[in-house]
């Protein structure tokens, strides 16, 4: 049930109706939300709902055990308790990462091995569909168990609460990756939806659908054609495709996040911020503080810092960055292109770190606009590898950027206009909060605009594609 489907609209309206109008008790409301979230998942695959429930139940029990042996009896716990807690943590990580590895990477590893030495066709056991959202909900569970081990927040005393945290439908399939210490407190008392929340939710839903259905998918048609046949693409089109994909993936994923946040707000829940106008970043490091924030902070807290972070000298720092980004790349998909993309960002981050260290805190001498332009182009070039899916296709697209091949078709002005729209919203947000601006518009005009958005989305949705991040 993708967000850009009539199914989802009907589902959301039905959930809102029952949640707000038919249920008064908070416990029942949470139970209903859990059932709705599981139903939402089951519409994709009832079989894999069982996997979701099973891993949820295991992590719920293991976290409780970990908390009991490590923090429950005495503080600090005796060495035996700490050891036992560590073993339980390892068990939980093994189960979670094992499930992820089996479903998401099993076939990839087999094919990699088959490329090196002749093997029979992929066994049926490994030819399995990748469960939707597995990368996201596994990371929810892992952060919950690790935070419990670290004593960041006690584990949930209610299975319903924990299961709802893992499966909450607006963020189940493609995030944002929420932490228990962010979501857990919201489950403690009844959520009320405030008028400002409704306004923000409507705005987010409208903007999210526009971003996805109108902007991302229109750009996607152009990008698809260029990547399908790079050698038949002119130099101008290759450049336009470079920018178009940068904004396609931004509109697509941030549009999804806007819809998820809007839907959650209508239920009275907040989700963490996931995008902060990423193409305004002045450095690769800042980019990752603005792009898919929930993933980058997750990788920072559970991978980069435990690997040593920046505390153990430059060499260790570079190694931590590279490992984090390579694994971050692999998280996006079981393909070497994603690993390379992660490695590319690892190199950018490490280079930036080394240059910054040499400057030793002195303010940069280059103007901000230039730093933004350079960072944007570095990121956009990285997206070529991400989009191409193979080094050969990426190389073909990159070659076209300098090919000098003339433009045989009309200049894709509409595509450029959409790219400029993305750039303009980034620029505008430097000075103003877009929601605050929107709130100044008379209500009647807001309503009319929402009506037009419904028409636009209705018209465009027939050609709407899937969300890119549903694949990860």
């Amino acid at each position: 049930m993708p967000f850009n489907s009539l199914y989802f609209v009907i589902f959301l309206l039905a959930v809102l109706l029952v949640y707000h109008a038919a249920l008064a008790d908070w416990s029942w409301r949470k139970l209903f939300l859990l059932a709705a979230s599981w139903l939402f998942y089951a519409t994709w695959s009832p079989r894999f709902l069982l996997l979701l429930i099973a891993t949820t139940a295991i992590d719920y029990q293991l976290a409780r055990r970990i908390y009991h042996v490590r923090w429950g009896a005495a503080d600090p716990a005796p060495a035996a308790g700490r050891r036992r807690a560590r073993w339980l943590l390892v068990l939980s990580l093994t189960i979670n990462l094992g499930v992820l590895a089996f479903f998401k990477y099993g076939e990839f590893l087999y094919r990699t091995a088959a490329a090196l030495s002749p093997l029979p066709p992929v066994p049926r056991l490994l030819s399995i569909v990748v469960p939707l959202g597995i990368s996201f909900y596994t990371f929810h569970s892992i952060s919950y168990v690790i935070d419990t081990y670290r004593g960041v927040r006690p584990p949930s005393g209610s299975f319903t609460d924990f299961a709802l945290y893992v499966a909450f439908f607006p963020q189940l399939v493609a995030g944002p990756i929420t932490r228990w210490n962010f979501f857990g407190p919201q489950l403690e008392r009844e959520r009320r939806v405030e008028p400002a929340g409704i306004e923000a939710a409507l705005f987010l839903l409208a903007v999210g659908f526009l971003k996805k259905v109108v902007c991302a998918d229109s750009l996607g048609g152009f990008v698809d054609e260029v990547y399908a046949d790079p050698t038949g693409t002119s130099q101008v089109e290759a450049w336009v495709a470079l920018y178009a994909y940068a904004f396609q993936i931004y509109f697509d994923f941030s549009g999804y996040t806007d819809i998820a946040t809007g839907a959650a707000l209508l239920l009275g829940f907040r989700l963490p911020e996931n995008f902060r106008h990423p193409y305004l970043a002045e450095s690769p490091r800042e980019f990752w503080r603005r792009w898919h924030i929930s993933l980058s902070t997750w990788l920072r807290d559970y991978l980069y810092v435990p690997l040593g972070g920046s505390r153990r000298g430059p060499a260790r720092n570079v190694m931590s960055l590279m490992i984090t980004m390579l694994l971050g790349g692999l998280w996006h998909g079981a393909a070497w292109a994603f690993v390379l993309w992660g490695g590319y960002h690892g190199v950018l981050l490490a280079a930036h770190r080394l240059v910054s260290a040499r400057a030793s805190g002195a303010p940069p001498r280059t103007p901000a606009w230039l730093r933004r332009a350079v960072t944007f182009h570095l990121v956009a070039l990285g997206w070529v590898l991400f989009r191409a899916g193979s080094v050969a296709t990426a190389a073909a697209v990159l070659r076209q950027l300098w090919s000098g091949q003339p433009l045989p078709r009309p200049f894709p002005l509409g595509i450029v206009a959409l790219v400029l729209l993305g750039a303009a919203t980034h620029g505008l947000s430097l000075r103003r909060d877009l929601l605050e601006l929107w709130r100044r518009v008379p209500l009647a005009l807001q309503g009319a605009a929402y009506g037009l958005v419904i028409v636009l989305v209705g018209v465009f949705s027939a050609e709407s594609g899937r969300f890119i991040y549903f694949a990860f």
Partner: protein, 361 residues
Amino acid sequence: MLKADASYTSPSEDERPGVARRLLTLGLSCAVTLAVVLGWVWIDRQGVRLRPALSDTMDTTVLPALVRWRARHRDPSVMGVVLFGDSRVDCLNGVTVGGALAARLRANGRPADLAEVAHPGLRPLQFYYLLDEVLAGAPAAAVVEVNPAYLWPRPPPPLRWARFFNLSRELSLRGAWRMRKPLAVDGLSLLDPFIYALEEKLDLLYVADGLRDGGQVLLGRPNGRFAGVLDWKRSAQDRLVIRGALAEGALFRRRVTGDVAAHPVTIVLRQLYRELRQAGVEVLFYVPPQKVFERPDPGEMAQSERVEAVRAAIGAQPLEWLDLHAHLTPEAFRGFSQYLRPPGCEHVADAIGDVLIPRLR
């Protein structure tokens, strides 16, 4: 875009009065806008949909021909035959596999009224959309082209125009349920066939396409420079592209596995076969001749193995399956493409006839 501020979801002190009034204003202005736009569309619906309706060759040529075939009164000595296929059945100069097959049947004393349900880009899923229409014409035999390109573990995602979304309106409730996985892979939900059917009943089919086209025309009005700029992807659809690893390929992995029996095309072909057999129709699947062969990825089956695995998964008997993929030399094809020259179509028709005619006696 914005921070999901805490004040949106927790009691706020500066709660503004008149929430109901504000929501009513929003809702009313939204409803009025919708009513105005939809009213305009309703009044001008014939004009709005004209261009896309006329340019849909499935609706303007293939479907009317099928309806005529179904309604035609046949002499008892003439049997109804249907051929499902895509652009590979067309060998130019008016020579098609269907035409050549009809001639071959006639020459062998089995005159046939043959309906060629074929169109560029048509796939087994669309064959299934049209199955009820075909069965209503009581055919004695059905020949089904199995294009091996669609049997790859990661088939190239069909171009958008080649998904024939609105043709799904021909599906019955049961048919849609049976096709739920292939529909999902194609980007359609279970609701979509009924929405398209409803649009057809309400005389609104193609209106959304017409509105999109209208936008294009509007963009083209000022000075002509804008014409077609957003339509880039459609003009490019005419180019023959062998698609590489597209993002959709990765998305396909969400629903499709290397397991041949669970492949969406196998599911469709199996169901097509079952329903044709239940209706007493003689079925012959054929894999058309190929010039270019896909090299299997490491750990994947070779094409001939895959084709055989598909046959077994469908449940078709060896006599009901004709694999012609390696039957012709490169000279039989037009240039680099997989398309045949006219003698190629005749060769395919002869091969089909050799298998089919004895079964029809």
